[in-house]
């Protein structure tokens, strides 16, 4: 009895903070999403409007377009990050001169605030002064992310890769380091070549860490805002108006809080659905394996 009470007592700060900063805001957003609320308008009152925000959402062409580019952005960014992150993780498993130095440098983007990342990439890609358009000129490519939708999209994907690949690398290094050596030696003796070892041994053995990393990156990429807002402002047109940016533009310039909340809830729902689909297709059938 004593220890049970003590347990709750020790847990209470965590539960309090979780409730205050996690659960309460979420319920609040959910509640707001069922209202018409524009606190800076003539009528700042919250007006309960049933599911009107959600109904509007389904027919909001701008939102649907934004969802489309977001999914493309998330797909290209996360797939590239996982592939590059894995290759880098394998490289960092080997010994080479200057390894510690390179590993540190490679991790630096992770500790940068997204807004700074956005500013740096804006500087680097501005046609008149940026290094990237300058270098690309040598290949006859005229990069202008203010005009080319494709270029803007690609640069945001590349920026995300630059920013977040180190996270993938770090978690995959952790996974690779903890693998036992014997099955890999055994596989060599059993006649597996490098490619077969990867598909038959390495990949299944790091699968849990890999999938956790993909989930983290996926959820994060779904709600990218600040870097893209800083770099392209969602443009040109709405080429890089990812849902995070879209919500921002609905909520802040238009102060459309109720509608913005509804979008957030739907995006959260979509993220959960995507993760659930991935989970059922990738993890659940293998779960019995261990």
């Amino acid at each position: 009895m004593q220890s049970k009470k003590l347990g709750w007592l020790l847990l209470s700060p965590t539960l309090f903070i979780l409730g205050l900063f996690g659960i309460f805001p979420f319920i609040y957003v959910l509640w707001v999403s069922f209202h018409e609320w524009n606190p800076f308008a003539a009528n700042p009152e919250k007006l309960f409007n049933w599911a009107a925000n959600y109904r509007k959402l389904v027919f909001d062409a701008q939102f649907l377009a934004s969802l489309g580019v977001t999914l493309a952005f998330v797909f290209f960014a996360v797939v590239s990050e996982v592939v590059i992150g894995y290759i880098l993780a394998q490289a960092f498993m080997k010994d080479f001169p200057g390894k510690a130095f390179f590993r540190t440098i490679h991790t630096l983007p992770l500790i940068m605030a997204p807004i700074i990342v956005g500013s740096i990439w804006k500087l680097m890609t501005t046609p008149s002064i940026g290094i990237i358009p300058h270098l690309l000129k040598n290949f006859g490519i005229d990069l202008n992310i203010g005009q080319s939708a494709i270029a803007a999209f690609c640069i945001t994907v590349i920026m995300d890769i630059w920013h977040w690949t180190p996270l993938v690398t770090l978690s995959l290094i952790a996974a690779l380091v903890s693998l036992p050596a014997d099955p890999f030696e055994q596989a060599q003796i059993d006649g597996a070549n490098k490619r077969q070892i990867f598909w038959h041994i390495t990949l299944p053995m790091i699968r849990p860490a890999l999938i956790a990393t993909v989930f983290i990156r996926l959820m994060d990429a779904m709600r990218t805002v600040d870097e893209v807002l800083m770099l392209t402002g969602g443009g040109p047109g709405s080429a890089t108006r990812y849902v995070g940016v879209h919500i921002y533009k609905e909520v802040f310039p238009k102060t459309n809080y109720g509608y913005g909340s509804a979008i957030s809830v739907i995006v959260l729902y979509l993220t959960i659905v995507i993760c659930w689909l991935l989970y059922t297709s990738l993890i659940a059938p293998r779960n019995k394996r261990g």
């Binding site: 036992p180 014997d182 030696e185 055994q186 003796i189 059993d190 006649g191 597996a192």
Partner: protein
């Protein structure tokens, strides 16, 4: 043919030499045990045969082909690790079939060979299970199954039984031996346990500190160890060692200890006055009149035998006798040493005389 030749093999790790020129000849179909204390280089030698460690010097050939620069998968060997190294995400059947899958054998052939191996190893019931759902002994058998489905030229075992409990170890020992008699595949088996070595081997290679001390049939090593190390390592309970000088008493050569106790010799040609170590195994001592006086401290009856711990002139000496002893500890008993079974070693070099 599955013979293995190891010629002058050395191994260094970053300038530190851990293997100093090892020569071993392994005939086709032989069961060879590498035995020695922990850290003597048994695993390193086995891993060099497997191709998992580079060979720093010398030459290893398998089936008449020098394999120094040939990768493990082309050496036609199968290995069983101490940890079993099963693939945790594959079923028993997939684990055993993996080498055949890698060799791109047809599905039907893989299934057939896996089933046959499973039958031999009594694993048929477990083919769909995952390694974590098996006991230690079953995992061990899966690892062996994965080795035998390939029908390789050579089996390599690295302490495969040391993670099992004592009883299972004895059972598996017999099973591995039976398997070898059935398949007649050349086997190199590493262990630190000299009983495993004695019971399983056709030929034992005793190693110490990266060198081969002696190679021979188990009973040859037991009967004629070439030096003190092998004499002390092979046999359980271990051989007794007493220091003394060779002298002649009543026309017979004996070893005289500092206390003036005469240890009997028979048929050993050593000049008088030489400082030697006298070795006698506990099982070659009997209790009876006319022996040497030993202060007995502890009796260990096992039912079939009694192990007696004692001291002569302060030096420990043990005897293993068939009869049950009904004496109080702490008294002096007369140990008769069998002179025909005595061993004499040079005190300085430790070599057999």
């Amino acid at each position: 043919m599955g013979n293995v030749q190891i010629k002058g093999v050395t191994k260094s790790y970053g300038g530190v030499r851990v293997m100093h020129g090892v020569d071993v000849e392994i005939e086709d179909g032989e069961f060879v045990v590498l035995v020695g204390p922990s850290g003597c280089g048994k695993s390193t030698l086995l891993r060099m045969i497997a191709g998992l460690e580079e060979i720093s010097g010398g030459q290893i050939s398998i089936g008449g082909r020098v394999v120094n620069d040939i990768p493990p998968k082309e050496r036609d060997i199968a290995m069983v690790f101490q940890s079993y190294a099963l693939y945790p995400h594959k079923t028993v059947a997939e684990n055993m079939g993996f080498p055949l899958l890698m060799a791109k054998r047809p599905k039907a052939e893989i299934a057939e060979k896996v089933n046959r191996a499973a039958e031999i190893l009594d694993l048929t019931k477990y083919l769909d299970r995952y390694p974590k759902q098996l006991s230690g002994g079953q995992r061990q058998r899966v690892a062996m199954g994965r080795a035998i489905v390939r029908d390789p030229q050579v089996f390599l075992f690295d302490e495969p039984l040391s993670n099992l409990d004592a009883k299972l170890r004895v059972t598996m020992r017999v099973e591995i031996k039976e398997l070898h008699q059935r398949l007649k595949t050349t086997t190199v088996y590493v262990t630190h346990d000299q009983i495993e070595a004695m019971t399983m081997a056709n030929k034992i290679v005793v190693m110490r500190d990266g060198r081969v001390e002696q190679i021979g049939r188990p009973l040859d090593l037991y009967d004629r160890p070439v030096n003190l190390f092998v004499a002390g390592f092979i046999g359980s309970p271990a051989m007794n060692f007493l220091q003394g000088k060779v002298a002649t008493r009543d026309g017979r050569q004996v070893v005289l200890t500092d206390q003036g106790i005469a240890l009997p010799l028979d048929g050993v040609q050593v000049e008088d006055g030489r400082a030697v170590t006298y070795g006698i195994r506990p099982e070659h001592i009997t209790i009876g009149e006319g022996g040497i006086p030993v202060d007995v401290s502890v009796f260990e009856p096992t039912g079939s035998e009694t192990l007696i711990f004692g001291r002569v002139g302060g030096v420990p000496i043990d005897a293993l006798v068939r009869e049950r002893i009904e004496e109080e500890p702490g008294k002096t008993m007369s140990f008769r040493l069998d002179p025909r079974k005595a061993h004499v070693f040079d005190q300085v070099t430790g070599q057999r005389l």
